[in-house]
């Protein structure tokens, strides 16, 4: 088999060896079964949803900074469209805002941008497959997103255009199970649950597909420990998704049945709600919390691990160094995933659970900080002694590490049960999970967009705009979320429409105004990203096959890869991080596809044995 050094010899816009099928526009770009198109579809959809979720968040922030003032834009849309009188919002509208913000961000942005967009685009390319194992299933996984989006949107429009689920994204019963308990949540909550189920179906289809592809469709020579960390993280994420998500889906079915068909699972008897007859049945509200967090805690890692993997890949390429401790990185991700299944109870320390159970969950939660710490040290170790080039990708990756440190460390407060008693459901926790989910994951994604954009569209994104976007995002982000730690310490609870009616929080209004201004800054910064994304598609500098001089298999394919991905069936000879290898001559990288005819002593160090 002949392998050709990818930077020479072949045209940049080759079509794959699988040849052409004549497929029309619809087949090629809309109902496409090509993993790359599906990945890009996911990416664009999630970026749009990011803006929607961000707008909802700004609504929340506006109310906290200027309570009961007419919201910009929203108040223009009144006249019955939103629950508002005289331009001011009503408290249940506030609950809808934060509920939908969380739902959109978690289910329609973070999860699909990682697994859906990057997972789809990168997995076959990085393992040297021509497509996913089941392209049709893959297409369906994307097209199940839209009914889900429609259901979420529907939940905003049923009940007379001014209702949405108002129970928080956690949808704790009894509030979410008894229709009379939460204003506006009538049909909306049920639609929301349908949307949740559809997202679940989409993710489930994706995850079994990813697992099959990664297990069975690797290129020759791509052993498990030669897989890039991105692939490892996607694999572990897929496992988490496949085995945690069904539990939430099951719980969702139960809640729908409870709301609509009179089934009884979560509502205890003899509750008096909104003058309705006393409830019957012997359900248990905590049951939902257990089922919900059994999924939603692993989901936190679903929302993080792929970013960790991608950052590892990007960081190694940008600092021109092998990743420090490849196998510990893999094992720590596996450990995070494994432990992730047994820590869900730490969301419920104040729920009155058995104290012994609390201790168990507390220790397992503490232990999950350990692999996270190992990963952080390994990233720093990777940077150590490298040749750092500060482009947008590096900046976002370093921001990822930095933000992840903050998010991880603030998690220790919550893991310590007695301290969590105080911090539970305050802004401290809001700060914590935004540092992990936004700070870490989204900065990782921003980097990844910049890094793999040339592979997606064959053009580079603008560095200047990228850096501006990074700087504004970073400042806006920290200005928004860092002060929230202080709010949390001051006992500022989550989900309060008007916290200032409590005198002990009155003096926190200025800090909230500052936060809101920073949030607006951050929101504006995202338009730069969108602009850069669209602008570079037409005007970006043309990228060759391997603009970053990176090692992975995907860089040996044309940019953008044609149908079937590789013009030369790739063969993998080594691990993915052989940067600055003494074996490479004249360059500081050694691609996985490079058969390397010279002899040398160090050999397969890239397999990660050390």
């Amino acid at each position: 088999m002949s392998a050709v050094h990818p930077t020479v010899g072949l045209s940049d816009h080759g079509h794959g060896h699988a040849g052409h099928h004549e497929i029309g526009f619809v087949g090629k770009y809309i109902f496409s079964k090509d993993h790359k198109v599906i990945g890009i579809q996911f990416l664009i959809t999630t970026l749009l949803m990011l803006m929607v979720g961000g707008a909802l968040a700004l609504g929340v922030r506006f109310q906290l900074a200027w309570p009961w003032r007419a919201m910009p834009l929203v108040s223009q849309l009144t006249g019955g469209l939103f629950a508002a009188e005289g331009g001011q919002i009503s408290p249940e509208f506030y609950t809808m805002l934060f509920t939908m913000h969380a739902s959109v961000m978690i289910f329609l942005v973070i999860i699909p941008i990682l697994a859906g967009a990057f997972g789809n685009f990168l997995i076959p390319l990085m393992i040297g497959a021509d497509d996913m194992a089941f392209p049709t299933l893959n297409m369906l996984s994307y097209w199940f997103m839209w009914p889900a989006i429609a259901c979420f949107g529907m939940s905003f429009t049923v009940n007379g255009l001014n209702a949405a689920p108002a129970n928080g994204w956690t949808a704790y019963p009894v509030l979410s199970a008894v229709v009379q308990a939460a204003p506006g949540a009538g049909d909306a909550q049920t639609w929301w649950l349908f949307g949740l189920t559809l997202v679940g179906v989409s993710s489930m289809m994706g995850s079994v597909n990813y697992m099959t592809t990664i297990i069975n469709m690797r290129a020759p020579g791509m052993t498990l420990f030669r897989m890039p960390l991105t692939i490892w993280s996607m694999f572990i994420t897929a496992i988490l998704q496949a085995f945690a998500l069904p539990v939430l889906t099951a719980a969702g079915f139960m809640l729908v049945a409870e709301r609509t068909l009179g089934f009884k699972f979560f509502v205890p008897g003899n509750l008096l709600i909104n003058d309705a007859p006393a409830t019957v049945g012997g359900g248990q509200p905590l049951l939902w919390q257990h089922l919900f967090w059994f999924y939603s805690h692993p989901a936190v890692y679903i929302m993080l691990l792929p970013a960790m993997g991608m950052v590892s890949d990007m960081l190694a390429a940008q600092v021109r160094k092998p990743i420090f401790g490849y196998k510990p990185m893999v094992y720590s991700m596996a450990a995070i995933a494994g432990l992730g299944f047994i820590v869900w109870g730490h969301h419920m320390f104040t729920s009155g659970m058995n104290p012994a159970l609390g201790m168990t969950f507390m220790i397992s939660t503490m232990m999950i900080a350990l692999p996270s710490a190992v990963k952080v040290f390994n990233w720093i170790g990777t940077i150590w002694g490298g040749k750092v080039q500060f482009n947008t990708v590096t900046l976002n990756c370093v921001a990822f590490v930095s933000m992840f440190i903050v998010g991880g460390l603030s998690g220790i407060f919550m893991a310590a049960v007695p301290v969590d008693i105080y911090f539970h459901d305050t802004y401290f926790i809001v700060a914590h999970f935004h540092y992990v989910l936004f700070g870490a994951t989204l900065f990782g994604c921003f980097g990844a967009i910049q890094f793999w954009y040339p592979k997606m569209f064959g053009r580079m994104m603008s560095e200047r705009l990228g850096k501006l976007h990074f700087l504004l995002s970073f400042i806006g982000f920290n200005g928004t979320f860092f002060p929230m730690h202080l709010l949390g310490i001051a006992g500022f609870p989550r989900r309060y429409a008007d916290p200032y009616i409590h005198p002990y929080m009155e003096h926190l209004m200025p800090i909230n105004r500052f936060i809101t201004l920073c949030a607006i800054l951050m929101g504006i910064a995202q338009f730069i990203l969108l602009f850069n994304f669209a602008f570079s598609f037409f005007a970006g500098k043309k990228a060759g096959r391997n603009p970053w001089n990176a090692n992975g298999l995907e860089w040996s394919a044309p940019s953008p890869p044609g149908h079937g991905n590789f013009d030369v069936p790739p063969v993998c000879y080594r691990g993915p991080y052989e940067y600055s290898s003494p074996l490479s001559e004249g360059t500081d990288f050694l691609m996985q596809t490079d058969p390397l005819r010279h002899t040398g002593g160090v050999g397969n160090a890239g397999d990660g044995h050390h």
Partner: protein
């Protein structure tokens, strides 16, 4: 200019730490010192973790920044070709593990006192039943001199949002919910416990200072979640008894024998 970014990443943790230092003087800190023995322990634990975390935070960022600083400067033709170090991995697995285990074990005692029934203080005084509902706290005291019963009694005393407890005395409340899930949160006493519908959860706490402390709801309970402001008044035993007697007189008022009409007596604030 190349040094700007390492500096940028090293600089912001210092801003963060400085912010934490000035926060107390700006009033952005705990609403008050913890006025309960358990609360003091919780605070101490918080400060301990804060110190550990801050050192780690600053340390890792200095490491990160320094690595970047050196990396930008790296004049070598290639980077340092290293796949890692086994001993370093072991070191930085064991060190955090030790610290984390220390934190876990160190706090167990507080948690035990807070939640494990057998570790509750001996002289717990069952003060009232607090029933959370959308969007207020309904409180039921036993008649003066009587014990709190699990079911309502004809001579029970009722009020709303104002919970009076004797100071320097571990007290127990029975926490219930009439409709959805709520959470009983007194920031100044560092007490928080969810009120789960269908169950009665005993909560104990001890206020070590006289005064009124804010009581809020910390679990989303519907549109009026933010409205659930109550107060916990800790007062001397005699005053507490006097309050119960006032309440009793007020509650037994038949329009003839007691002149007070405005409700101002039980509706007292500040």
């Amino acid at each position: 200019m190349n040094k700007f970014w390492p500096f940028f990443f090293m600089f912001w943790p210092f801003v963060a730490v400085v912010l934490f230092f000035i926060a107390p003087s700006m009033g952005w800190w705990f609403p008050s010192e913890a006025f309960s023995p358990l609360g003091v322990q919780i605070d101490n634990l918080f400060y301990l973790i804060l110190v550990i975390v801050s050192v780690t935070f600053v340390g890792t960022h200095i490491g990160l920044g320094y690595a970047l600083w050196k990396g930008v400067d790296n004049k070598a033709e290639k980077g340092w070709f290293s796949h890692g170090s086994h001993s370093l991995e072991v070191l930085w697995s064991i060190a955090p593990a030790g610290i984390l285990m220390f934190i876990s074990l160190y706090q167990l005692d507080v948690w035990r006192t807070y939640r494990v029934k057998s570790a509750y203080p001996k002289d717990l005084y069952g003060v009232a039943e607090v029933t959370a509902r959308q969007f207020e706290w309904r409180i039921r005291y036993p008649a003066p001199g009587k014990k709190l019963q699990p079911t309502p009694q004809p001579d029970d005393l009722y009020t709303v949002n104002d919970l009076h407890v004797p100071v320097n005395q571990p007290v127990l409340i029975r926490l219930r919910s009439m409709d959805v899930q709520h959470s009983f949160f007194v920031p100044a006493l560092r007490v928080k416990q969810d009120a789960v519908p269908g169950t009665v959860i005993p909560v104990w706490f001890e206020a070590s200072k006289e005064g009124g402390f804010d009581l809020t709801c910390a679990e989303l309970c519907g549109w009026g979640h933010y409205k659930m402001r109550g107060r916990v008044f800790a007062e001397r035993k005699t005053e507490f008894e006097k309050y119960l007697n006032t309440l009793k007189a007020e509650q037994g008022f038949d329009g003839v024998n007691k002149p007070s009409e405005s409700g101002a007596e039980i509706a007292k604030t500040e």
